[in-house]
Protein backbone atom coordinates (compact mmCIF):
# COMPACT_ATOMS: atom_id res chain seq x y z
CA UNK A 1 0.00 0.00 0.00
CA UNK A 2 1.52 3.27 -1.10
CA UNK A 3 0.13 6.38 0.53
CA UNK A 4 1.17 9.89 -0.44
CA UNK A 5 0.59 12.57 2.18
CA UNK A 6 0.64 16.25 1.25
CA UNK A 7 2.13 18.17 4.15
CA UNK A 8 2.61 21.87 4.60
CA UNK A 9 5.47 23.51 6.45
CA UNK A 10 4.31 26.69 8.14
CA UNK A 11 5.69 29.39 10.45
CA UNK A 12 5.46 28.19 14.08
CA UNK A 13 1.98 29.27 15.30
CA UNK A 14 3.55 29.86 18.73
CA UNK A 15 5.62 32.58 17.04
CA UNK A 16 3.26 33.60 14.26
CA UNK A 17 5.33 36.17 12.39
CA UNK A 18 3.80 38.88 10.28
CA UNK A 19 2.00 39.77 7.07
CA UNK A 20 3.96 41.29 4.23
CA UNK A 21 2.34 44.75 3.78
CA UNK A 22 2.92 44.65 0.00
CA UNK A 23 1.44 41.28 -0.81
CA UNK A 24 -0.75 40.87 2.28
CA UNK A 25 0.44 37.30 2.61
CA UNK A 26 2.24 35.64 5.51
CA UNK A 27 6.00 36.13 5.61
CA UNK A 28 7.54 32.71 5.19
CA UNK A 29 11.22 33.51 5.44
CA UNK A 30 11.27 32.30 9.05
CA UNK A 31 12.02 28.75 10.19
CA UNK A 32 9.06 26.55 9.28
CA UNK A 33 7.62 23.54 11.08
CA UNK A 34 5.24 20.74 10.16
CA UNK A 35 1.69 22.05 10.22
CA UNK A 36 0.14 20.24 13.17
CA UNK A 37 -3.05 19.71 11.19
CA UNK A 38 -0.99 17.61 8.75
CA UNK A 39 0.42 15.38 11.48
CA UNK A 40 -2.98 13.66 11.62
CA UNK A 41 -2.78 12.72 7.97
CA UNK A 42 0.74 11.40 8.44
CA UNK A 43 -0.38 9.32 11.42
CA UNK A 44 -3.37 7.95 9.52
CA UNK A 45 -1.20 7.03 6.55
CA UNK A 46 1.34 5.27 8.79
CA UNK A 47 -1.47 3.32 10.46
CA UNK A 48 -2.90 2.28 7.08
CA UNK A 49 0.48 1.03 5.89
CA UNK A 50 0.98 -0.80 9.20
CA UNK A 51 -2.44 -2.42 8.87
CA UNK A 52 -1.72 -3.41 5.26
CA UNK A 53 1.52 -5.04 6.43
CA UNK A 54 3.43 -3.63 3.45
CA UNK A 55 4.02 -0.42 1.59
CA UNK A 56 5.23 3.04 2.47
CA UNK A 57 4.29 6.62 3.13
CA UNK A 58 5.66 9.29 0.78
CA UNK A 59 5.46 12.98 1.61
CA UNK A 60 4.93 15.82 -0.82
CA UNK A 61 5.46 19.40 0.29
CA UNK A 62 5.78 22.78 -1.37
CA UNK A 63 7.82 25.27 0.63
CA UNK A 64 10.12 28.25 0.14
CA UNK A 65 13.92 28.18 0.55
CA UNK A 66 14.26 24.41 0.33
CA UNK A 67 12.76 24.18 3.82
CA UNK A 68 12.94 20.67 5.25
CA UNK A 69 12.40 20.96 9.00
CA UNK A 70 8.75 20.01 8.86
CA UNK A 71 9.48 17.15 6.47
CA UNK A 72 12.13 15.91 8.89
CA UNK A 73 9.47 15.67 11.60
CA UNK A 74 7.17 13.59 9.40
CA UNK A 75 10.09 11.44 8.21
CA UNK A 76 11.04 10.88 11.86
CA UNK A 77 7.47 9.74 12.54
CA UNK A 78 8.01 7.02 9.93
CA UNK A 79 7.43 8.28 6.38
CA UNK A 80 9.87 6.69 3.92
CA UNK A 81 10.77 9.57 1.61
CA UNK A 82 9.71 13.01 0.48
CA UNK A 83 9.36 15.20 -2.57
CA UNK A 84 10.00 18.86 -1.90
CA UNK A 85 8.79 21.43 -4.40
CA UNK A 86 10.81 24.57 -3.87
CA UNK A 87 11.63 27.36 -6.27
CA UNK A 88 11.89 31.16 -5.93
CA UNK A 89 9.48 31.37 -8.89
CA UNK A 90 6.76 29.87 -6.74
CA UNK A 91 6.43 32.76 -4.29
CA UNK A 92 2.87 34.08 -4.48
CA UNK A 93 1.32 30.91 -5.90
CA UNK A 94 -2.38 30.63 -5.10
CA UNK A 95 -4.25 27.55 -3.94
CA UNK A 96 -5.02 26.27 -7.47
CA UNK A 97 -1.41 26.62 -8.64
CA UNK A 98 -0.27 24.86 -5.47
CA UNK A 99 -2.72 22.05 -6.13
CA UNK A 100 -1.52 21.70 -9.74
CA UNK A 101 2.11 21.51 -8.64
CA UNK A 102 1.37 19.01 -5.88
CA UNK A 103 -0.78 16.93 -8.22
CA UNK A 104 1.96 16.84 -10.82
CA UNK A 105 4.50 15.71 -8.26
CA UNK A 106 2.10 13.04 -6.94
CA UNK A 107 1.05 11.75 -10.35
CA UNK A 108 4.01 9.48 -11.07
CA UNK A 109 4.22 8.00 -7.57
CA UNK A 110 1.77 5.21 -8.22
CA UNK A 111 -0.09 6.02 -5.02
CA UNK A 112 -3.04 3.93 -3.88
CA UNK A 113 -4.23 6.78 -1.73
CA UNK A 114 -3.47 10.49 -1.38
CA UNK A 115 -4.10 12.11 1.99
CA UNK A 116 -4.07 15.80 2.83
CA UNK A 117 -5.17 17.91 5.78
CA UNK A 118 -8.60 19.51 5.38
CA UNK A 119 -7.07 22.95 5.69
CA UNK A 120 -3.72 24.41 6.67
CA UNK A 121 -3.34 26.28 9.95
CA UNK A 122 -1.85 29.36 8.27
CA UNK A 123 -3.66 29.83 4.95
CA UNK A 124 -7.02 28.17 5.70
CA UNK A 125 -8.14 28.11 2.07
CA UNK A 126 -9.44 24.57 2.61
CA UNK A 127 -9.62 23.76 -1.11
CA UNK A 128 -6.26 22.27 -2.07
CA UNK A 129 -7.14 18.56 -1.51
CA UNK A 130 -10.24 18.80 -3.68
CA UNK A 131 -8.34 20.72 -6.35
CA UNK A 132 -5.68 18.01 -6.41
CA UNK A 133 -8.43 15.44 -6.92
CA UNK A 134 -9.84 17.62 -9.71
CA UNK A 135 -6.50 17.96 -11.46
CA UNK A 136 -5.83 14.22 -11.23
CA UNK A 137 -9.43 13.34 -12.02
CA UNK A 138 -9.67 11.17 -8.92
CA UNK A 139 -12.57 10.75 -6.49
CA UNK A 140 -12.37 13.08 -3.49
CA UNK A 141 -13.64 12.46 0.03
CA UNK A 142 -13.50 15.33 2.51
CA UNK A 143 -13.36 15.60 6.31
CA UNK A 144 -12.43 11.98 6.99
CA UNK A 145 -12.37 10.92 10.61
CA UNK A 146 -11.39 7.35 9.82
CA UNK A 147 -10.23 5.43 6.75
CA UNK A 148 -10.35 1.67 6.33
CA UNK A 149 -8.98 -0.09 3.27
CA UNK A 150 -11.17 -2.84 1.85
CA UNK A 151 -9.56 -4.44 -1.18
CA UNK A 152 -9.51 -1.89 -3.97
CA UNK A 153 -11.74 0.59 -2.20
CA UNK A 154 -11.85 2.49 1.10
CA UNK A 155 -14.53 2.97 3.69
CA UNK A 156 -14.42 6.45 5.11
CA UNK A 157 -16.29 7.96 8.01
CA UNK A 158 -16.90 11.50 6.89
CA UNK A 159 -17.46 14.05 9.64
CA UNK A 160 -20.68 16.07 9.39
CA UNK A 161 -22.26 18.65 11.67
CA UNK A 162 -24.57 16.07 13.19
CA UNK A 163 -22.35 12.96 13.18
CA UNK A 164 -20.70 11.17 10.30
CA UNK A 165 -21.50 9.71 6.89
CA UNK A 166 -20.27 6.27 5.84
CA UNK A 167 -18.71 6.69 2.41
CA UNK A 168 -17.26 4.01 0.17
CA UNK A 169 -14.91 5.10 -2.58
CA UNK A 170 -12.74 3.27 -5.14
CA UNK A 171 -8.97 3.67 -5.04
CA UNK A 172 -6.94 5.60 -5.93
CA UNK A 173 -8.59 8.58 -4.25
CA UNK A 174 -7.81 11.84 -2.50
CA UNK A 175 -8.98 12.05 1.11
CA UNK A 176 -8.78 15.09 3.33
CA UNK A 177 -8.40 14.43 7.04
CA UNK A 178 -9.85 16.48 9.85
CA UNK A 179 -7.46 17.65 12.56
CA UNK A 180 -7.71 15.85 15.90
CA UNK A 181 -9.11 12.52 14.67
CA UNK A 182 -6.09 10.38 15.59
CA UNK A 183 -3.29 10.74 18.12
CA UNK A 184 -0.15 11.54 16.11
CA UNK A 185 2.81 9.53 17.42
CA UNK A 186 5.87 11.25 18.83
CA UNK A 187 8.78 10.92 16.44
CA UNK A 188 11.03 8.32 18.09
CA UNK A 189 14.69 9.19 18.66
CA UNK A 190 15.62 6.35 16.34
CA UNK A 191 13.29 7.87 13.76
CA UNK A 192 14.85 11.29 14.25
CA UNK A 193 18.31 9.94 13.57
CA UNK A 194 17.17 7.81 10.65
CA UNK A 195 15.29 10.73 9.07
CA UNK A 196 18.37 12.49 7.82
CA UNK A 197 19.29 9.48 5.69
CA UNK A 198 15.87 9.26 4.05
CA UNK A 199 15.65 10.59 0.49
CA UNK A 200 14.19 14.05 -0.08
CA UNK A 201 13.94 14.82 -3.78
CA UNK A 202 13.83 18.54 -4.52
CA UNK A 203 11.96 19.73 -7.61
CA UNK A 204 11.64 23.13 -9.25
CA UNK A 205 8.63 24.42 -11.18
CA UNK A 206 10.49 23.64 -14.42
CA UNK A 207 11.18 20.07 -13.25
CA UNK A 208 7.43 19.65 -12.99
CA UNK A 209 6.86 21.16 -16.44
CA UNK A 210 5.63 24.60 -15.38
CA UNK A 211 7.07 27.83 -16.72
CA UNK A 212 7.38 31.04 -14.73
CA UNK A 213 4.22 32.60 -16.21
CA UNK A 214 2.09 29.75 -14.87
CA UNK A 215 3.16 29.95 -11.23
CA UNK A 216 3.86 32.45 -8.47
CA UNK A 217 2.34 35.92 -8.62
CA UNK A 218 2.24 35.73 -12.41
CA UNK A 219 0.11 32.62 -12.50
CA UNK A 220 -2.14 33.44 -9.55
CA UNK A 221 -5.81 33.78 -10.34
CA UNK A 222 -6.42 35.41 -7.01
CA UNK A 223 -5.21 38.55 -5.34
CA UNK A 224 -5.56 39.54 -1.71
CA UNK A 225 -7.06 42.99 -1.83
CA UNK A 226 -7.44 43.79 1.81
CA UNK A 227 -6.78 42.28 5.23
CA UNK A 228 -8.86 43.42 8.19
CA UNK A 229 -8.84 42.34 11.82
CA UNK A 230 -11.52 39.90 12.87
CA UNK A 231 -14.25 41.65 14.87
CA UNK A 232 -13.46 41.69 18.59
CA UNK A 233 -15.40 39.12 20.50
CA UNK A 234 -18.25 40.46 22.63
CA UNK A 235 -17.69 40.27 26.37
CA UNK A 236 -19.29 37.12 27.76
CA UNK A 237 -22.10 37.08 30.26
CA UNK A 238 -20.92 37.07 33.87
CA UNK A 239 -23.08 35.18 36.32
CA UNK A 240 -22.52 36.05 39.98
CA UNK A 241 -22.97 33.04 42.21
CA UNK A 242 -25.58 33.87 44.81
CA UNK A 243 -26.03 30.18 45.58
CA UNK A 244 -28.54 29.77 42.74
CA UNK A 245 -26.18 30.46 39.81
CA UNK A 246 -26.52 26.87 38.61
CA UNK A 247 -30.14 27.48 37.59
CA UNK A 248 -29.00 30.31 35.32
CA UNK A 249 -26.23 28.17 33.86
CA UNK A 250 -28.64 25.31 33.20
CA UNK A 251 -31.08 27.72 31.56
CA UNK A 252 -28.26 29.16 29.45
CA UNK A 253 -27.13 25.73 28.27
CA UNK A 254 -30.74 24.71 27.56
CA UNK A 255 -31.17 27.84 25.53
CA UNK A 256 -28.10 26.90 23.48
CA UNK A 257 -29.65 23.44 23.05
CA UNK A 258 -26.53 21.70 24.31
CA UNK A 259 -28.44 19.99 27.13
Amino acid sequence: MKVVVCVKQIPDPADPGALDPETRTLKRDVKLILDESDSYGVEMALQLVDAAGEGEVILVSMAPNGERSGLATALAMGAASAILISDPELVGSDALTTAKLLATAVKDQGADLIIAGSESSDGYTGVVPEQIAGVLDLPSVTAAKSIEVDGSSIKVQRQTDGGYDDVTCPLPAVVSVTAGVVEPRYPSFKGIMAAKNKPVEEKSAADLGFDASQVGWAGAGQEIIEVTDAPKRQAGEVIEDDGEAFTKIVAYLENMKVI
Binding site: T73, A76, Y186, P187, S188, F189, K190, I192, M193, K196
Partner: protein, 380 residues
Amino acid sequence: MQLSPDQERIRATAREFARREIAPHAAHWDRDGATPRSLYDRMADVGLMGMMVDPAWGGSGADFVSYALAIEEISAADGGISNVMAANNSPVAAAIEQLGTEQQKTDYLTKLTSGAWLGCIHLTEPHTGSDASAITTRAVRDGDEYVINGQKAFITAGSTADLAMIIAVTDPDAGKRGISAFITPTDNPGYRVISKENKLGHRTNDTCQVAFDDLRIPATDLLGEEGRGLGIALGNLSLGRIAVAAQATGGARAALAAAHAYARDRVTFGKPIIEHQAIAFDLADMATQVEAARQLYLHAAQMRDLGLECAREASMAKLFASEMAERVASKAIQIHGGYGFLNDYPVEKIYRDVRVYQIYEGTSEVQKIMISRNLDTSEG
Protein backbone atom coordinates in the same frame (compact mmCIF):
# COMPACT_ATOMS: atom_id res chain seq x y z
CA MET B 1 27.38 25.17 23.09
CA GLN B 2 25.80 24.83 19.68
CA LEU B 3 23.55 21.77 19.33
CA SER B 4 23.27 19.68 16.17
CA PRO B 5 19.88 19.45 14.40
CA ASP B 6 19.47 15.89 15.76
CA GLN B 7 20.18 17.03 19.30
CA GLU B 8 17.71 19.91 18.91
CA ARG B 9 15.04 17.53 17.64
CA ILE B 10 15.58 15.00 20.39
CA ARG B 11 15.32 17.76 22.94
CA ALA B 12 12.15 19.13 21.32
CA THR B 13 10.56 15.66 21.29
CA ALA B 14 11.51 14.96 24.92
CA ARG B 15 10.14 18.38 25.89
CA GLU B 16 6.87 17.81 24.09
CA PHE B 17 6.55 14.34 25.62
CA ALA B 18 7.28 15.65 29.12
CA ARG B 19 4.91 18.58 28.71
CA ARG B 20 2.04 16.38 27.57
CA GLU B 21 2.55 13.03 29.27
CA ILE B 22 4.23 13.88 32.58
CA ALA B 23 3.82 17.50 33.69
CA PRO B 24 0.00 17.47 33.94
CA HIS B 25 0.08 14.43 36.26
CA ALA B 26 3.28 14.90 38.26
CA ALA B 27 1.69 16.62 41.28
CA HIS B 28 -0.92 13.90 41.49
CA TRP B 29 1.62 11.06 41.20
CA ASP B 30 3.76 12.81 43.83
CA ARG B 31 0.80 12.80 46.24
CA ASP B 32 -0.03 9.16 45.40
CA GLY B 33 3.59 8.15 45.80
CA ALA B 34 3.51 6.14 42.58
CA THR B 35 3.63 6.51 38.80
CA PRO B 36 1.65 4.28 36.43
CA ARG B 37 3.88 1.70 34.79
CA SER B 38 2.37 2.51 31.38
CA LEU B 39 4.24 5.83 31.41
CA TYR B 40 7.55 3.98 31.10
CA ASP B 41 6.17 1.97 28.17
CA ARG B 42 5.38 5.22 26.39
CA MET B 43 8.78 6.63 27.28
CA ALA B 44 10.36 3.52 25.76
CA ASP B 45 8.30 3.94 22.57
CA VAL B 46 9.88 7.35 22.07
CA GLY B 47 13.31 5.90 22.84
CA LEU B 48 13.95 7.38 26.28
CA MET B 49 14.68 4.11 28.08
CA GLY B 50 17.65 2.94 26.02
CA MET B 51 18.86 6.14 24.47
CA MET B 52 22.52 5.36 23.91
CA VAL B 53 22.17 1.65 23.25
CA ASP B 54 22.89 0.42 19.72
CA PRO B 55 19.70 0.14 17.61
CA ALA B 56 20.65 -3.53 17.06
CA TRP B 57 19.59 -4.04 20.71
CA GLY B 58 16.52 -1.85 20.41
CA GLY B 59 18.19 1.34 21.60
CA SER B 60 18.15 4.75 19.95
CA GLY B 61 21.88 5.01 19.29
CA ALA B 62 21.86 8.62 20.48
CA ASP B 63 24.93 10.44 21.70
CA PHE B 64 25.52 11.42 25.29
CA VAL B 65 24.69 15.11 24.78
CA SER B 66 21.25 14.08 23.51
CA TYR B 67 20.77 11.81 26.50
CA ALA B 68 21.63 14.57 28.97
CA LEU B 69 19.30 17.00 27.17
CA ALA B 70 16.46 14.47 27.37
CA ILE B 71 17.13 13.91 31.08
CA GLU B 72 16.86 17.68 31.64
CA GLU B 73 13.51 17.74 29.86
CA ILE B 74 12.02 14.80 31.76
CA SER B 75 13.35 16.15 35.05
CA ALA B 76 11.81 19.56 34.37
CA ALA B 77 8.46 17.75 34.45
CA ASP B 78 9.32 15.33 37.28
CA GLY B 79 12.58 14.52 39.02
CA GLY B 80 11.60 11.09 40.34
CA ILE B 81 10.63 9.82 36.91
CA SER B 82 13.85 11.17 35.43
CA ASN B 83 15.77 9.11 37.97
CA VAL B 84 14.09 5.85 37.00
CA MET B 85 14.92 6.71 33.40
CA ALA B 86 18.51 7.50 34.38
CA ALA B 87 19.09 4.22 36.28
CA ASN B 88 17.66 2.23 33.39
CA ASN B 89 19.88 3.95 30.82
CA SER B 90 23.04 4.05 32.85
CA PRO B 91 24.38 2.17 34.65
CA VAL B 92 22.06 -0.76 33.90
CA ALA B 93 21.58 -0.76 30.09
CA ALA B 94 24.98 0.83 29.44
CA ALA B 95 26.85 -1.78 31.51
CA ILE B 96 25.03 -4.70 29.90
CA GLU B 97 25.76 -3.31 26.45
CA GLN B 98 29.43 -2.74 27.25
CA LEU B 99 30.15 -5.96 29.15
CA GLY B 100 27.26 -8.33 28.70
CA THR B 101 27.41 -11.62 26.80
CA GLU B 102 25.32 -12.05 23.65
CA GLN B 103 22.94 -14.14 25.76
CA GLN B 104 22.60 -11.43 28.42
CA LYS B 105 21.97 -8.82 25.74
CA THR B 106 19.33 -11.00 24.10
CA ASP B 107 17.68 -11.90 27.40
CA TYR B 108 17.87 -8.56 29.16
CA LEU B 109 19.07 -5.59 27.11
CA THR B 110 16.29 -5.71 24.54
CA LYS B 111 13.75 -5.86 27.36
CA LEU B 112 15.24 -2.75 28.96
CA THR B 113 15.29 -0.72 25.75
CA SER B 114 11.75 -1.74 24.77
CA GLY B 115 10.38 -0.74 28.17
CA ALA B 116 9.13 -4.30 28.78
CA TRP B 117 11.42 -4.28 31.81
CA LEU B 118 12.73 -1.58 34.13
CA GLY B 119 16.22 -1.86 35.57
CA CYS B 120 17.63 -0.88 38.97
CA ILE B 121 21.14 -0.71 40.43
CA HIS B 122 22.04 -2.15 43.82
CA LEU B 123 25.24 -0.63 45.15
CA THR B 124 24.51 1.30 48.36
CA GLU B 125 24.05 -0.62 51.64
CA PRO B 126 22.58 0.58 54.92
CA HIS B 127 26.02 1.13 56.44
CA THR B 128 27.86 2.45 53.40
CA GLY B 129 27.22 4.77 50.47
CA SER B 130 30.06 7.15 49.69
CA ASP B 131 32.58 4.42 50.48
CA ALA B 132 31.32 1.88 47.98
CA SER B 133 34.30 -0.43 48.54
CA ALA B 134 33.04 -1.11 52.09
CA ILE B 135 29.99 -3.09 50.94
CA THR B 136 29.49 -6.47 52.60
CA THR B 137 26.78 -8.17 50.50
CA ARG B 138 28.38 -11.51 49.77
CA ALA B 139 28.23 -13.68 46.65
CA VAL B 140 29.50 -17.25 47.07
CA ARG B 141 30.08 -19.58 44.14
CA ASP B 142 28.12 -22.84 44.41
CA GLY B 143 28.58 -25.05 41.36
CA ASP B 144 27.01 -23.30 38.38
CA GLU B 145 25.47 -20.63 40.57
CA TYR B 146 26.32 -17.79 42.87
CA VAL B 147 24.42 -17.51 46.16
CA ILE B 148 24.01 -13.93 47.34
CA ASN B 149 23.17 -12.76 50.87
CA GLY B 150 23.05 -9.24 52.21
CA GLN B 151 21.07 -6.05 52.26
CA LYS B 152 20.86 -3.01 50.01
CA ALA B 153 19.46 0.47 50.70
CA PHE B 154 18.15 3.45 48.73
CA ILE B 155 17.49 1.42 45.61
CA THR B 156 15.62 3.52 43.04
CA ALA B 157 12.74 1.46 41.60
CA GLY B 158 13.75 -1.41 43.91
CA SER B 159 10.20 -2.77 44.03
CA THR B 160 8.91 -1.83 40.58
CA ALA B 161 11.98 -2.78 38.52
CA ASP B 162 12.12 -6.14 36.76
CA LEU B 163 15.87 -6.46 36.47
CA ALA B 164 18.42 -5.86 39.22
CA MET B 165 22.09 -5.16 38.71
CA ILE B 166 23.70 -6.19 41.98
CA ILE B 167 27.17 -5.34 43.24
CA ALA B 168 28.48 -7.90 45.76
CA VAL B 169 31.70 -9.17 47.30
CA THR B 170 33.02 -12.37 45.73
CA ASP B 171 36.45 -12.36 47.41
CA PRO B 172 36.57 -10.59 50.80
CA ASP B 173 40.37 -10.75 50.88
CA ALA B 174 40.85 -8.95 47.58
CA GLY B 175 39.46 -5.55 48.66
CA LYS B 176 38.26 -3.44 45.75
CA ARG B 177 39.28 -6.23 43.37
CA GLY B 178 37.06 -8.71 45.18
CA ILE B 179 33.77 -7.10 44.14
CA SER B 180 31.65 -8.36 41.23
CA ALA B 181 28.50 -7.38 39.33
CA PHE B 182 25.49 -9.63 38.65
CA ILE B 183 22.19 -9.25 36.87
CA THR B 184 19.02 -11.05 37.80
CA PRO B 185 15.26 -10.68 37.38
CA THR B 186 13.62 -9.27 40.52
CA ASP B 187 11.10 -12.11 40.60
CA ASN B 188 13.99 -14.36 41.63
CA PRO B 189 12.72 -15.96 44.89
CA GLY B 190 15.71 -14.72 46.92
CA TYR B 191 14.93 -11.06 46.14
CA ARG B 192 12.90 -9.52 48.94
CA VAL B 193 11.79 -5.88 49.21
CA ILE B 194 11.99 -4.95 52.90
CA SER B 195 10.46 -1.49 52.69
CA LYS B 196 9.59 1.34 50.42
CA GLU B 197 11.04 4.50 51.96
CA ASN B 198 8.94 7.55 52.81
CA LYS B 199 10.92 10.47 51.47
CA LEU B 200 11.15 14.24 51.07
CA GLY B 201 11.15 14.30 47.27
CA HIS B 202 11.15 12.01 44.24
CA ARG B 203 7.95 10.59 45.63
CA THR B 204 6.87 9.51 42.14
CA ASN B 205 9.31 6.59 42.33
CA ASP B 206 9.99 3.87 44.87
CA THR B 207 13.25 4.00 46.80
CA CYS B 208 13.62 0.65 48.54
CA GLN B 209 15.52 -1.43 51.01
CA VAL B 210 16.03 -4.88 49.62
CA ALA B 211 17.32 -8.10 51.19
CA PHE B 212 18.90 -11.03 49.38
CA ASP B 213 18.06 -14.30 51.11
CA ASP B 214 20.11 -17.04 49.43
CA LEU B 215 19.46 -15.30 46.11
CA ARG B 216 20.63 -17.82 43.50
CA ILE B 217 22.00 -16.47 40.24
CA PRO B 218 23.31 -18.72 37.46
CA ALA B 219 27.01 -18.08 36.85
CA THR B 220 26.06 -17.07 33.32
CA ASP B 221 24.50 -13.93 34.82
CA LEU B 222 27.74 -12.66 36.24
CA LEU B 223 28.22 -9.34 34.42
CA GLY B 224 31.73 -8.92 33.06
CA GLU B 225 34.59 -10.58 34.88
CA GLU B 226 34.68 -11.59 38.51
CA GLY B 227 36.48 -8.95 40.59
CA ARG B 228 35.55 -6.10 38.27
CA GLY B 229 32.23 -5.18 39.88
CA LEU B 230 33.27 -1.91 41.44
CA GLY B 231 34.76 -0.75 38.17
CA ILE B 232 31.51 -1.71 36.45
CA ALA B 233 29.37 0.13 38.98
CA LEU B 234 31.61 3.17 39.09
CA GLY B 235 32.98 2.98 35.54
CA ASN B 236 30.07 4.94 34.18
CA LEU B 237 30.24 7.37 37.05
CA SER B 238 30.96 10.41 34.90
CA LEU B 239 27.92 9.50 32.88
CA GLY B 240 25.82 9.28 36.03
CA ARG B 241 27.13 12.58 37.34
CA ILE B 242 26.42 14.43 34.12
CA ALA B 243 22.92 12.96 34.19
CA VAL B 244 22.38 14.28 37.74
CA ALA B 245 23.65 17.70 36.67
CA ALA B 246 21.07 17.59 33.87
CA GLN B 247 18.35 16.53 36.34
CA ALA B 248 19.25 19.45 38.60
CA THR B 249 19.24 21.87 35.67
CA GLY B 250 15.79 20.61 34.67
CA GLY B 251 14.36 21.05 38.17
CA ALA B 252 15.84 24.51 38.52
CA ARG B 253 14.60 25.56 35.13
CA ALA B 254 11.07 24.48 36.00
CA ALA B 255 11.26 26.48 39.24
CA LEU B 256 12.51 29.50 37.31
CA ALA B 257 9.70 29.22 34.76
CA ALA B 258 7.07 28.99 37.51
CA ALA B 259 8.56 31.98 39.35
CA HIS B 260 8.75 34.02 36.16
CA ALA B 261 5.11 33.35 35.33
CA TYR B 262 4.02 34.13 38.86
CA ALA B 263 6.02 37.36 38.97
CA ARG B 264 4.27 38.66 35.87
CA ASP B 265 0.90 37.85 37.38
CA ARG B 266 1.13 38.82 41.03
CA VAL B 267 0.46 42.48 41.73
CA THR B 268 1.69 44.29 44.85
CA PHE B 269 1.82 48.03 45.48
CA GLY B 270 0.09 48.66 42.19
CA LYS B 271 2.30 46.71 39.79
CA PRO B 272 3.28 43.16 38.86
CA ILE B 273 6.08 42.09 41.21
CA ILE B 274 8.40 41.50 38.24
CA GLU B 275 8.44 45.30 37.94
CA HIS B 276 9.97 45.53 41.40
CA GLN B 277 13.65 45.51 40.61
CA ALA B 278 14.51 43.18 43.49
CA ILE B 279 12.36 40.44 41.97
CA ALA B 280 13.49 41.10 38.39
CA PHE B 281 17.13 40.88 39.46
CA ASP B 282 16.49 37.64 41.32
CA LEU B 283 15.00 36.18 38.14
CA ALA B 284 18.00 37.38 36.16
CA ASP B 285 20.33 35.71 38.65
CA MET B 286 18.34 32.48 38.55
CA ALA B 287 18.32 32.38 34.75
CA THR B 288 22.07 32.95 34.66
CA GLN B 289 22.73 30.14 37.13
CA VAL B 290 20.51 27.70 35.25
CA GLU B 291 22.30 28.48 32.00
CA ALA B 292 25.72 28.14 33.63
CA ALA B 293 24.78 24.69 34.95
CA ARG B 294 23.47 23.64 31.56
CA GLN B 295 26.66 24.70 29.81
CA LEU B 296 28.75 22.83 32.39
CA TYR B 297 26.90 19.58 31.87
CA LEU B 298 26.80 19.96 28.09
CA HIS B 299 30.53 20.62 28.05
CA ALA B 300 31.24 17.48 30.08
CA ALA B 301 28.80 15.47 27.95
CA GLN B 302 30.41 16.63 24.74
CA MET B 303 33.86 15.68 26.07
CA ARG B 304 32.49 12.25 26.84
CA ASP B 305 31.06 11.96 23.30
CA LEU B 306 34.49 12.84 21.96
CA GLY B 307 36.07 10.10 24.08
CA LEU B 308 37.94 12.57 26.29
CA GLU B 309 38.51 12.07 30.01
CA CYS B 310 35.81 14.16 31.68
CA ALA B 311 35.73 13.02 35.32
CA ARG B 312 36.70 16.46 36.62
CA GLU B 313 34.24 18.31 34.38
CA ALA B 314 31.46 15.86 35.28
CA SER B 315 32.10 16.40 38.99
CA MET B 316 32.13 20.18 38.56
CA ALA B 317 28.86 20.08 36.60
CA LYS B 318 27.24 17.83 39.22
CA LEU B 319 28.46 19.90 42.16
CA PHE B 320 27.48 23.26 40.69
CA ALA B 321 24.14 22.19 39.20
CA SER B 322 22.92 20.35 42.28
CA GLU B 323 23.73 23.18 44.68
CA MET B 324 22.39 25.74 42.21
CA ALA B 325 19.10 23.85 41.95
CA GLU B 326 18.41 24.16 45.67
CA ARG B 327 19.23 27.89 45.63
CA VAL B 328 17.08 28.56 42.57
CA ALA B 329 14.16 26.49 43.86
CA SER B 330 14.35 28.32 47.19
CA LYS B 331 14.32 31.70 45.43
CA ALA B 332 11.37 30.55 43.34
CA ILE B 333 9.45 29.86 46.54
CA GLN B 334 10.46 33.28 47.87
CA ILE B 335 9.08 34.95 44.75
CA HIS B 336 5.79 33.14 45.30
CA GLY B 337 5.54 34.46 48.87
CA GLY B 338 3.22 32.37 51.03
CA TYR B 339 1.77 30.57 48.04
CA GLY B 340 5.19 29.09 47.34
CA PHE B 341 4.87 27.13 50.56
CA LEU B 342 1.61 25.47 49.48
CA ASN B 343 1.42 22.40 47.33
CA ASP B 344 -1.11 24.23 45.14
CA TYR B 345 1.87 25.72 43.31
CA PRO B 346 4.57 23.64 41.59
CA VAL B 347 7.58 25.17 43.34
CA GLU B 348 6.89 23.40 46.63
CA LYS B 349 7.37 20.01 44.95
CA ILE B 350 10.36 21.14 42.91
CA TYR B 351 12.09 22.34 46.07
CA ARG B 352 11.61 18.90 47.62
CA ASP B 353 12.66 17.08 44.45
CA VAL B 354 15.94 18.90 43.82
CA ARG B 355 17.44 18.34 47.27
CA VAL B 356 18.63 14.83 46.52
CA TYR B 357 20.87 15.91 43.64
CA GLN B 358 23.48 16.95 46.22
CA ILE B 359 23.41 13.45 47.69
CA TYR B 360 23.25 10.62 45.18
CA GLU B 361 25.86 9.72 42.52
CA GLY B 362 28.46 11.04 44.96
CA THR B 363 27.61 13.71 47.52
CA SER B 364 28.79 17.30 47.07
CA GLU B 365 31.61 16.51 49.49
CA VAL B 366 32.69 13.55 47.37
CA GLN B 367 32.65 15.75 44.25
CA LYS B 368 34.87 18.26 46.03
CA ILE B 369 37.31 15.48 46.97
CA MET B 370 37.44 14.50 43.32
CA ILE B 371 37.82 18.06 42.02
CA SER B 372 40.40 19.08 44.63
CA ARG B 373 42.54 16.07 43.71
CA ASN B 374 42.48 17.21 40.10
CA LEU B 375 43.12 20.91 40.51
CA ASP B 376 44.88 22.36 37.50
CA THR B 377 48.33 23.57 38.52
CA SER B 378 49.23 24.87 35.08
CA GLU B 379 46.99 27.94 35.26
CA GLY B 380 49.30 30.10 37.39
